[in-house]
């Protein structure tokens, strides 16, 4: 687009000049902390900080748990998004509102809620313990559960929107060509919603990776089993601020790298 065209567009956007400083302020507000991290990072001792066994352990645990939580969210969230987008179940509006509850719930409250449901005395956890001898809290599985609980809405909302926007007539075309439902889902619907699905997956993973409140409440902070990177960063900050900054930097780099990578692969080509 030409420069003239762009300028005309910004005018058409109807932005009152008084808003511009606030927009700039907002941008600074978002970027400044990141800049702070980079500026204050202990660059000389960085390598040593990062390769400490505890840091590596926490990072590994974080990546594994966030990825597992994302897989759980995909397995559960895509079908739920499908139901919300494509069926006429009664009370669907209420259902959709309920799905977003973890979004507005303070994560710590989410953790407490998980306790009441899946804790050893919880309404379901009691039976898990009694029948299978499974006790979730304070295990790695609990980390995955807490992260999935918090991250699931991101995936559901994103996939549901994509499903709504997808042209269903293409699915009809596929049916007239002899495709059964599963074939249509695999070859037509999922490719159609791929950008939404990818975006939802990335958001979901990022949210899971950063999870703190629900995780520390429901899974605790045991190094090696439940102490994920955010928790490790928080605890490190109490005794060794420069190290915490270094660890934060790692988390930042990992998140941005994954986002960028996925964008190249999926989001970039899909549009």
């Amino acid at each position: 687009m030409s420069r003239v065209g762009r300028r005309r567009l910004s005018v058409a956007g109807g932005l009152p000049p008084a808003m511009v400083p606030f927009a700039v302020l907002a941008l600074l507000f978002l970027l400044l902390p990141v800049v702070g991290l980079v500026v204050r990072a202990p660059w000389r001792t960085l390598a040593a900080e990062l390769t400490s066994p505890e840091a590596l352990e926490a990072l590994r645990l974080s990546l594994v748990c966030a990825t597992l939580a994302t897989v759980v969210c995909l397995l559960l969230g895509v079908p739920l998004a499908w139901v919300l987008a494509r069926t006429r179940v009664p009370g669907r509006a209420v259902l959709r509102a309920l799905v977003t509850v973890p979004l507005v719930l303070p994560p710590v409250v989410g953790g407490v809620a998980l306790f009441t449901a899946l804790g050893r005395r919880g309404i379901v956890g009691r039976w898990l313990d009694e029948w299978f001898g499974i006790s979730l809290p304070f295990t790695t599985a609990a980390v995955v559960v807490a992260e999935a609980f918090v991250a699931l809405p991101f995936l559901v909302i994103s996939v549901e929107g994509a499903l709504r926007a997808a042209d269903r007539r293409l699915e009809e075309a596929a049916a007239t060509l002899g495709a059964d439902r599963w074939y249509i889902v695999r070859r037509v619907t999922l490719p159609m919603v791929a950008p939404g699905l990818a975006a939802g997956t990335v958001l979901c993973w990022a949210r899971a990776l950063g999870e703190f409140g629900a995780t520390i409440t429901f899974a605790g902070s045991f190094p090696g089993t439940t102490q994920t990177m955010p928790i490790h960063v928080y605890l490190t900050l109490q005794r060794d601020p420069p190290a915490a900054i270094a660890l934060s930097l790692v988390l930042l780099v990992v998140s941005v790298a994954v986002l960028a990578g996925l964008r190249e692969r999926w989001l970039g080509t899909a549009r």
Binding site: A173, G178, A179, D180
Partner: protein, 362 residues
């Protein structure tokens, strides 16, 4: 009735459908039979129920009553609660806008139906390439739909439907998405390809020219009902509704005939060339109407005083809308417009020879 039904051995009745579909206030009731190798056009205004009929035949919309049979297969029978889902019908559909899968190449689009039916990848690919080759699209096989022109996309859609060897082809406004320039060419091409297809074909269109060029037989649908069926020439010369008359560009009136003299609903009288009696329709071409400044002293059996309502240039003639004892359209040359001083409000005399009228039972 088409000549084919006289020779059932050569062209057996392939599609036999009795549709009754209700959707809210709208109800479609249609009897439709198509021979093998025959192309039938469903012609009608928007909202007449053409696409509803097509979707019902494809199995995308359940029928509330009636049946759909294709050869010896019952695709749907409401009374017997039989209903084959779309993927189990041997029906190929070319949708409006073609609905090619945007994420697949032309080749993958054409191969889709074969793969869905379990043909292995290599064989499906080979047959898709063959089908594209026949359509003259061999060099476009690796393109995505977004990179194809309208005419090319239409042929890919046609190839995609035909490659699965359907017994019934359904085309929904196959030319509507094309611009006027390519339309002519694609229409002729489509006609050739449909002629090669040995199954039954139903084309839905609201465009009279498309219907006349593509179809062996027309079924005119208005407001959920079949109002007329016949060969294109039958429909073109003897329209039975105002809609069809407008489509084919004829003046059409309803009236009561006594020995060839027809009294129209408004009281005007038209004289036909034959000795018809009873309730009839009278049709004549706008170009058959001759306009005069003064009352003509001619052999024309029908003359009447009229007032010009509007003038509209159509190609190299001018369509004159007249009102008076009967509303009619007349086609004259631009020169006549000047010589007669035609303009809205002008008083003229119209003349029409009895032999230029078609009078037929209503």
């Amino acid at each position: 009735m088409s000549a084919a039904s006289l020779e059932p051995a050569c062209r057996p009745l392939l599609l036999d459908a009795d549709l009754d579909v209700r959707r809210g206030d709208f109800r479609l009731r249609m009897n439709l039979s198509v021979d093998a190798g025959e192309v039938v056009a469903l012609l009608g205004p928007n909202g007449a129920g053409k696409t509803t009929a097509l979707r019902a035949l494809a199995g995308l919309l359940p029928i509330d009553d009636g049946y759909v049979r294709l050869g010896r297969t019952v695709l749907e029978d409401a009374a017997a609660s039989i209903r084959l889902v779309p993927e189990h019908r041997r029906v190929g559909v070319v949708f409006q806008d073609y609905l090619l899968f945007p994420h697949l190449t032309a080749r993958e689009n054409v191969a889709f139906g074969l793969r869905a039916r379990g043909v292995d990848r290599a064989a499906a690919r080979a047959r898709a390439d063959e089908a594209l080759e026949r359509m003259g699209l061999a060099e476009h096989a690796d393109k995505r739909p977004a990179a194809l022109s309208g005419g090319q996309a239409q042929r890919v859609a046609l190839a995609r439907a035909l490659v699965t060897e359907p017994r019934l082809m359904l085309l929904d406004e196959p030319l509507a998405a094309l611009d006027a320039g390519t339309r002519l060419e694609v229409r002729a091409d489509l006609r050739r390809r449909l002629a090669e297809f040995d199954g039954a074909t139903v084309v839905v269109t609201h465009d009279a020219v498309d219907a006349f060029v593509l179809a062996d037989r027309l079924v005119v649908v208005e407001d959920g009902h079949v109002v007329q069926t016949g060969t294109p020439s039958e429909v073109a010369t003897r329209p039975v509704t105002a809609y069809v008359a407008r489509l084919v560009g004829l003046n059409l009136y309803r009236g009561e005939a006594v020995d060839g003299t027809v009294t129209l609903a408004g009281g005007a009288v038209l004289v036909g060339a034959h000795h018809d009696n009873g309730r009839v329709l009278v049709a004549f071409r706008p170009s058959s109407v001759v306009l005069h400044r003064r009352r003509p002293d001619s052999s024309a059996r029908n003359t009447w005083a009229a007032r010009v309502v509007s003038l509209e240039q159509q190609g190299d003639t001018v369509r004159v809308a007249l009102t008076g004892p009967l509303d009619a359209a007349a086609d004259v040359t631009p020169l006549a417009v000047a010589e007669l001083g035609l303009e809205p409000g002008a008083e003229v005399w119209a003349a029409l020879k009895a032999t230029e009228t078609a009078v037929y039972p209503a």
